[in-house]
Symmetry: C2
Subunit: 365 residues, 2 copies
């Protein structure tokens, strides 16, 4: 069994991220180090439970505690206040106390819900993430962001609550739909473009092996991304210093695209792919990167079957939605931009005309 261990350094709140092949079946063994737990609750969705429930529940049970399994609706359905209230009620009914342990088994939405549950049940209980999508493995399972949606407000409810362990099994990605794999690959490209030229070049070079989820290559890419995220979270846990903000590359435009599409029809990875193209054009207009670098970014996105442009949404709608986000974020429109490939910089309030120009030919009819 291959296993890479990466550490998030946050003093008492620090934790290991273990990336490997076949690790999901050893979760019980991993949990045995977390003593003093009387109730273990696995939060998951039906489809994932069908695939991995036996292995995960069996492994936990063999460590001495039969887990309570709480099935929640798929995708954003997991992130409603209603689902949250039901899960909290089930924990109470299971007589879970302050020593309970929440295990999230699923993708980003399940992780967001489970994180918020762990953050707020009895003012905070322990949390372990078993992310089952590439996106969750490279990004959302690390860093403690937990969230629910409000009608009209994605992630408007939330908390920072760090897990005590993240266990990423590359083997579970085999059952992931191709579109979801691409969604994770978009985030991997983001890490490379904004923070690590060697990762970027690896993704460029290993297209065939990464698209096929070949074990060694996938494990290496996930570990590299997890290491980058762990580093940023370790120095800027609550996104207060602007460092963690680097990971928003592609997301300022990408979030506006998702909102414009009302979170339907377009995946997060697709939205941030278009966002990365637009924002790299902005970087080029601001003199932060060259034509060659911008083209190289577009080429890698295209080579992974990810979209470079979005039709049917006007440039003006995207600009309006970015301004709305700007208000929520506290009054400044921030972009994390490539400052040359492999390095990033956060730019606040670039000229409106330049932003509009960057969007030309990327969004719009």
């Amino acid at each position: 069994m291959h296993l890479q261990t990466i550490r998030v350094h946050l003093g008492q709140r620090g934790y290991p991220i273990k990336v490997g092949s076949g690790v999901i079946a050893s979760v019980g063994q991993e949990l045995s180090g977390l003593s003093g737990t009387s109730v273990v609750a696995v939060i998951t969705v039906e489809g994932i439970r069908r695939l991995y429930g036996t292995a995960v529940e069996g492994s936990i049970a063999s460590s001495g505690i039969r887990p309570v399994v709480i099935e929640v609706p798929d995708r954003e359905g997991a992130k409603t206040i209603q689902t949250y209230a039901e899960v909290m009620g089930e924990l109470l009914a299971a007589r879970a106390g302050k020593d309970a342990l929440i295990v999230s088994l699923g993708g980003g939405c399940v992780g967001d819900l489970a994180g918020f549950v762990a953050a707020t049940y009895m003012r905070g209980v322990r949390l372990v993430h078993l992310p089952t999508t590439l996106l969750a493995q490279v990004d959302s399972s690390i860093g403690g962001k937990a969230a629910l949606n409000l009608p009209g407000g994605k992630n408007s409810i939330g908390a920072f609550w760090q897990p005590c362990l993240v266990l990423s099994d590359v083997d579970v990605l085999k059952t992931l739909p191709q579109r979801e794999v691409r969604c994770g690959l978009a985030e991997l490209i983001k890490y490379g473009a904004i923070m690590d030229i060697r990762l970027f070049e690896f993704i460029e070079r290993e297209k065939g092996r990464l698209n096929a989820l070949e074990r060694e290559a996938t494990l290496r890419a996930i570990s590299a991304a997890a290491r980058l995220k762990a580093k940023l979270v370790s120095v800027d846990e609550r996104e207060a210093k602007g460092l963690r903000t680097l990971l928003n590359f592609g997301h300022t435009v990408g979030h506006a695209i998702e909102a414009a599409m009302e979170y339907r029809g377009y995946s997060h990875g697709e939205a941030i792919s278009v966002g990365m193209v637009a924002e790299t054009r902005l970087a080029r207009l601001l003199g932060l990167c060259s034509d060659d670098e911008a083209e190289r970014l577009e080429r890698i996105i295209e080579s992974y079957g990810l979209p470079k442009r979005l039709e049917g949404v006007s440039k003006e709608a995207i600009v309006d939605l970015m301004w709305h986000d700007k208000k929520v974020e506290g009054g400044r429109l921030k972009f994390a931009l490539p400052n040359g490939l492999g390095r990033g910089i956060v730019v606040a309030d670039p000229p409106t005309g330049t932003v509009a120009k960057a969007l030309e030919g990327v969004v719009g009819d």
Copy 2:
């Protein structure tokens, strides 16, 4: 204007508690130091708004921001998930962003709700408490405990979220029903008995002036209690070191009494008064305090018109409910007991027979 400033020392999360007379009308001035806020939301109940809304809202408006006022149901009705969801929706509708400021104007329940709202809106926004009950001024507004109830689980949902300012106005206590004043006095007696013999003696001596809410005496008692709470919170924010646990004197039995009464008919202050009598008897049985000290505690409780015993609930029911709490708390039944008056000690798992004996004549028919 008399004003005492007490500080909670928690590094960047530290804050002042200002106790004074007439301070509620200067809230706008106090907030002007909290820059960069675009939306101020006052969470309150109808009755309190009728009394103090004009002063508070006018003062905030005069500082430059017209507040959004969100009225919520009274008492425990404020602490439901439904109320919480509605308040979050109203904040979103008011386009409150990450720079929003939540002002809680009310008693402990409003403060618990507002604290949880502040802890979780956009992963955390700023919070100011304007406590309007004696109980909230001496206890619940300080220390960052926020909570909601689940059906069958009081405070089962919650977070630790420190305010950036607590502003306690002794003048607003004049409009408090006598029974609620007594409820706060019970907590004051607790502080004295478990932490500060001088405060205990002051409460013994100044019965007339405290019952009449005479300004100087009340201000002195509130400041003393706030200082004690601030001290414990400063060293044990998340109740992890057992120091903050001292404030549970009277509460292990008290919570069981409240649960047995299904949170009706008996106030929190009345429940912990009976709880303090029972737990002081337990302390005496364990050799931690003398007969004289136990009698003195019962005398002060009686002299403030607070109950020393509870009829109609069996001793066995109380013991069962304490065991249920014990499970939730992680397996140990802890009591904060007077170790001589004015000093406290936390005792875990005292002999069951001794606990039962301590309850004899305090609860039961």
